[in-house]
Amino acid sequence: MSEPYRMNFTVDGENFTSAGDASGRVKKALRQLGFSPEIIRRVSIAMYEGEINMVIHAGGGRAEVSVFDDYIEIVLEDDGPGIADIELAMQEGFSTAPEQVRAIGFGAGMGLPNMKRYTDEMTIDTEVMKGTRITMRVKTV
């Protein structure tokens, strides 16, 4: 297997405006690499939801996207409060987002379900008070 093509990003915990910059850049790079619009759409939506979660719930974090021969991997890592009950967090509609976040259209409790919906594999490693790492893979062949 050849060396994967990698992209690294820091996700600013302070603002919602720059959330989406990383997924926007990934979208552009994947287009240049010649992936199909459907693959690009799935990867960039999953990544955007993860970015937004790090902004809303974890005060920012880091993202890495790697393009392997037969899949694209997205790793999102933060040093936030962690997720106490993963099963509950995965339920559509469950959200601890504050009111001002809902006012701008987020906090519907569908971010994690969307990440699962648009990827082929998703694992959540999390520890309360330590942080969360979410690894997602989208098959490309």
């Binding site: 919602f16 979208k27 519907a108 569908m110 969307n114």
Partner: protein, 111 residues
């Protein structure tokens, strides 16, 4: 019958805040204001009708590959949001009509 975004603008009398890719063909429409809900359900090349106007709308439209965003009810749109639409190549349109009236309009022009 297929329509381009430019045809939509002229036939429904929409205000074009950013028309970066007027030749895009529309494949349908979707209306919603909860951004994750839109990301779950809006398909590529659809017109997205919404009353949300913050900058995240542009990111969502770009990532979901919406053909255009139509802001309903003449909602106010900041210049920063228009600039973001231009930068990201998102067609951003506006109308004083309600989301319901806009859906009827899309149906009337054959979508």
């Amino acid at each position: 019958m297929s329509k381009t975004v430019s045809e939509l603008v002229s036939e429904l009398g929409l205000e074009a805040l950013a028309l970066t890719e007027g030749e895009r063909e529309l494949k349908g429409g979707f209306t919603g204001d909860l951004l994750s809900y839109v990301m779950a359900h809006l398909r590529s090349d659809e017109a997205w009708i919404t009353i949300m106007t913050n900058v995240n709308v542009i990111a969502v439209a770009s990532l979901t590959d919406a053909a255009c965003v139509i802001v309903a009810d003449g909602a106010e749109v900041d210049t920063e949001v228009v600039q973001s639409a231009v930068q990201r190549g998102v067609n951003l349109l506006r109308s004083n009509a309600s989301a319901f009236e806009l859906c009827k309009g899309l149906a009337q022009i054959g979508l």
